[in-house]
């Protein structure tokens, strides 16, 4: 009375639909990863080129160099990586990309620092250390504060690093600033270490100072020249 063959056939069809769906999911996932790799390569080339340009021309090209560095692209890449980690899972590829991203951030930071001293420009940098290894609600809130600040001040550069990332360059930074995992979230602002949560008002006033310096300097230059 019951057509068991049909139940089996429908089961097999359903199974193949599942496999197709997971194939599609993987296919689009790897496309996204490739897209991220492309963006990263582009940023890497940009940083390398700015670095080389700066080394070649030294102080004479201060204006050109600072214009050509692209922090907006780094931000976008950061957002996409974060999304990928949530939606594609922490696969080997995603964590590899994350390492690469951290490295690019450090390179960008160093270059900007060099430019800042070489061209006598004071830029507002924040180094931000957080953790995903454990539940860190303070980190979540600090991230919100930083995102909101970055929206308000487009010139502000926030470099964020996962504390638990397995990358020697990041570990070196942790050593330099003596950051411990018990004190997360941690911020480095103007070479000063701030641990624990800091409110938007507090950071804003600190950043404003930083910005003022930056704004005053070129005016001084003009007056001097």
């Amino acid at each position: 009375m019951i057509d068991w063959k049909k139940y089996l056939i429908v089961f097999l069809i359903t199974l193949s639909l599942f496999l197709t769906a997971s194939y599609l999911s993987n296919y689009f996932g790897s496309k996204k990863i490739n897209q991220l790799k492309l963006i990263q390569d582009e940023i890497a080339i940009n940083i390398l080129s700015s670095e080389t340009q700066f080394a070649l021309l030294s102080e004479s090209s201060c204006k050109n160099v600072s214009d050509s560095v692209l922090s907006g692209e780094l931000d976008e890449l950061g957002r996409k990586l974060e999304w990928s980690q949530e939606n594609l899972g922490s696969t080997d590829e995603v964590s590899y990309l994350k390492k690469y991203y951290s490295l690019l951030q450090i390179k960008d930071y160093l270059l900007m620092k060099k430019i800042a001293t070489g061209c006598k420009v004071k830029s507002a940098f924040i180094l931000y250390f957080y953790t995903t290894a454990e539940n860190c609600s303070e980190c979540e809130r600090e991230s919100l504060v930083l995102t909101s600040l970055r929206d308000k001040y487009p010139e502000l550069r926030v470099y964020s690093f996962d504390y638990s990332i397995d990358l020697s360059a990041v570990k070196a930074m942790l050593q330099i600033y003596k950051i411990k995992d018990t004190e997360l979230p941690a911020l480095v602002l103007d070479d000063e270490l701030l641990t624990g949560f800091h409110s938007i008002e507090e950071l804003e006033s600190r950043i404003k100072e930083s910005f003022k310096l930056q704004e005053i300097k070129p005016m001084d230059d003009k007056v001097n020249s």
């Binding site: 009375m1 056939i9 359903t14 769906a21 999911s25 938007i200």
Partner: protein, 414 residues
Amino acid sequence: MASISNLIFYILIFFAVYVQVFFFVTFLENRKKIIIRNGRIKLRSYPAVTIVVPSFNEEKTIYKTVCSLLNLSYPKDKLKIFLIDDGSTDGTWNIIRRFRSYPNVKIFQKENGGKYTALNLGLTQTETDFFGGLDADSFADTESLVRIMSCFEKDESVMAVAPSVTVHNPKNFVQDAQNAEYYMGVYTKKMLGFLGAINVTPGPLTIFRKKVFNDLGPYRHGHNTEDMEIAYRMQKNDYKIEHCNDAYVYTNTPTTVRKLYRQRLRWIYGFINNTIDYRSVLFRKKYGNFSFFTLPTGIVSILIVSYLFGKIVYNLADFLYSKFLVLNTVGWHFTGRTINFDLFFLDIHSSVFLIIFIYSLVVFAIIFGRRMAESKWVISFNMLYFLLLFKIIAPFWLMNAVFNTILKRKPTWR
């Protein structure tokens, strides 16, 4: 925790896809058997039929209902119509009395006892070999009865035939949404008919052989869904139920979300409790597809909706909490950044593709159901209304019915 929830989610999606594929395969197997007749048909013989119209406070619609029966293209001397007033408190009885002089109409008035008691009163008075009911809020198409009777003529073993029920004159968003749903119902019922697994013999104009009631006894309360209980009982006793897709009955549907909610609460409560009553039928080879497909499908859909309900509540709480966190940490703040639509952020979980697949088959069911009911292909916005409205409120009446069952709270009729 998240991975367990994910696993459950994928298991439920698997079942949902399975059910839709099962229907679709059934459709492909039987598509040549689906005939849509236009115009009149002739029978070899016209057996006598009794149609009972049970009514309780239906003064607005019963006149038209009775007229639709009087206009049926069926020999007048072979059609007995019983109008039964189940203790109405409005003008229903006065309207019924206007039909007392018709030779084939009999009228009854009784104390209110519920729809099944009115139907049973009709049953005791029935002398014909065929018996059926027509809800007093529904209208039969002139060709409906003769087409239904043709199914009995074709197959001696058929014990009951259900018609295609669609929405009468939809006037607003809520009824438009139900319109699409009823078209899907036509498709579903036809497929269940092919599988021999129909679980409801709807109040609007299902015709039975009187033998069914002689053998199995009269209607029961059936948790206020007597038309479901009798179908379960017939399935349990291996009595064949068919669906006649080109016999049309138009029913008045709830006009507001509130009324719809009450109706569906009653239906789902009926499904849950009749299924509990007939649990011995589940997964038994001798009860066929009804036991292995129809009932499990109903149970799985309740599980799916319960899961989705939990998920929606969780997501909503999570969303509110994150908004609260933002508000609490950075205050009101609008980003000057324009939100760029970036394809990168499109969700590509495999569940997305499966859900798209399920929805496409649902849309196919609605379109094909409409084709069976109106013999034309129409794509309408009603589908969108249906998917939207039911997605939002169906979880609530379903959960409500589950809770009522647990708390043993019986829903009222309206």
